[in-house]
């Protein structure tokens, strides 16, 4: 392309001077500069973000260091902060969400890719995509007034009656709880895992399915023995992407999890997550140490989500490399 344009723009000299395209006219230079400024703004802003988070948490890092992650004391009055319940709650709620969402999402993705009648595929995928468009605070609102009363009346007592021998399902039922937060997170994460899994499954060449069917497999066997293993790393990538979203989810979680800085064995007990703690306490924090501790939590949350998302991206890219690596779902 460059050589073609160059030869077109070059003056008809016996010795044509090599012209570079950028900066060949005043308009070009201005255009290039404006665009470069806009593009450069993005890394600059991210660098600024990391810098601000770092300086904001320096006070707390100096005071608590790595103990911040192991201590469970959160005392704004005595200015002692430990984020272990936050980290614990974040991990547990996200893992719960994945436990519920991944089988569901995979089931839907496989069904839509392999078994559903052609006419149904797009509409159903679209409807599930609508779930991703619902704002988090609306999920929280629905969770408080519809989901939690339902869970408290029907599901939680049922779980306690049948599985109550496990410490996970013992103890008083309040409603707002780790399990409720896990369930709403599962609903929120499901469209992402489903759509990325679907793209990954669609990228599996048809020859795999046809070979398996030709050898006499049933349709389910064809899928589970050839298609799914082929797309395995992409599916794992989709799951990790869902994990990344669950880790950072704030509003719905803070409305359903009970917001208590404590670790409990029971899933019916209230808990806390990193994002929920920041949301609840940041605007009311008095004292620089409290703010710095929350900034420290934000910094840790940022690091964790960056790492998780980078890992997810790598895995998905490896499988879907041929068919649209710039996955729209991402």
């Amino acid at each position: 392309m460059t050589s073609l344009a160059e030869s077109a723009a070059a003056p008809p000299d016996p010795v044509p001077a090599p012209l570079s395209l950028q900066g060949s006219s005043y308009g070009d230079r201005v255009f290039h500069l404006l665009l470069t400024l806009a593009a450069a703004a993005v890394p600059v802003l991210l660098g600024f973000l990391v810098y601000e988070l770092w300086t904001g948490s320096r006070l707390a890092i100096g005071q608590f260091g790595f103990q911040f992650l192991t201590s469970s004391v959160w005392d704004p009055v005595a200015e002692r902060f430990g984020a272990f319940p936050l980290v614990f709650g974040t991990l547990v709620s996200s893992l719960l969400a994945l436990l519920i969402a991944v089988p569901l999402s995979l089931g839907v993705a496989i069904y839509l890719t392999e078994f559903a009648p052609k006419a149904v595929r797009q509409p159903v995928a679209f409807l599930i995509g609508l779930l991703a468009a619902i704002p988090s605070v609306v999920y929280g609102l629905w969770g408080i007034f519809v989901l939690i009363p339902f869970l408290r009346k029907s599901i939680f007592p049922f779980l306690r009656d049948t599985l109550g021998f496990l410490p996970l399902f013992q103890g008083p039922i309040y409603g707002p709880s780790m399990l409720a937060a896990g369930i709403i997170l599962a609903i929120m994460v499901m469209p992402y895992v489903m759509s990325v899994s679907r793209e990954v499954l669609l990228a599996v060449p048809n020859s795999q399915r046809e070979a398996s069917l030709a050898l006499g497999a049933t349709r389910w066997e064809a899928v589970i023995t050839t298609v799914v293993p082929y797309a395995r790393s992409g599916i794992i990538g989709a799951v990790i992407l869902g994990l990344g979203r669950a880790l950072g989810e704030t509003m719905a979680v803070t409305m359903l999890i009970g917001n208590r800085h404590e670790i409990a064995a029971s899933l019916f007990a209230p808990g806390y997550t990193m994002a929920a703690a920041i949301a609840n306490e940041f605007s009311e924090a008095v004292g620089d140490m409290h703010l710095s501790a929350l900034a420290y939590v934000a910094f840790l949350l940022f690091l964790v989500t960056v790492l998780v998302n980078a890992g997810a991206r790598l895995l998905i890219w490896r499988v879907a490399r041929g068919a649209g690596a710039g996955s729209k779902a991402l």
Binding site: V42, E52, P103, L127, P135, V137, E249, M255, T305
Partner: protein
Amino acid sequence: MNRRFLRRAVSNLMVGLMLGAVVAALLPLFFILFNLVVKGAASLSLDFFTQTPAPAGETGGGVVHALVGTLLIVGMASLIGLPIGIAGGIYCAEYPASRLTWLTRFVADVMNGTPSIVVGVFAWTWIVATQKHFSALAGSAALALLMVPMILRTTEEMIKLVPNSLREAALALGYPRWRTSLAIVVRTTLPGIVTGGLLAVARIAGETAPLLFTALGSQYLSFNPDQPMAALPLTVFTYATGPYEQWHQDAWAAALVLILLVFVLSLGARLAVRQRFDSNG
């Protein structure tokens, strides 16, 4: 014979289970929409759209302060975020060999995965802490920061779809580089860019977390970007977690309005693309 029957039965069972998964996945969607319409529509009235809130606990009043607030905050955020995002996207698509492009693309992907509350904390330390007061502008800045990477990536993807032959034809006819990009490439992909922009606006219109400690929210109608301002998602949050029954009803109605806004923007975005493609054949 028996084994084949068993295998086929398992296959049918799994298909049935997966169909159940589809139903289970769609149930929450229908329940949420159903509840929103039933519970929310009951509180919708002319007062709801034109009045400011009544004193806490009393009946009546409305959420005009939140409607105006959302329009202003999202509007300001779009004014900042759309130009930077689109310009950045054009840069990454038109100069793909540049190292800045690789860096910007990577950073945009990182920022797309960042939790919105972390971006809110950043906006707080950058603007609120230095100005020593909450403001709608800080909220808009946080939302713009969320928008830019989204719009950048979608714009870039759209522009990359334009075949190089179009660019070469324009350049061969003597168009300078900048005119090629703007008049030919961007104009061709304008529906796609508009779609990406509208989708990003729809996403940030529903964001609550970055506004919690930047725009802070308010019970009063305000047009001042330098002061705290109400917003629809903030109002839903405050009212849903508050103790008053009137607040709970208003929360449902406000959530209904919010989701209508988000859906209309999203569907409008998709329709814009489809219409263009239909009219072009």
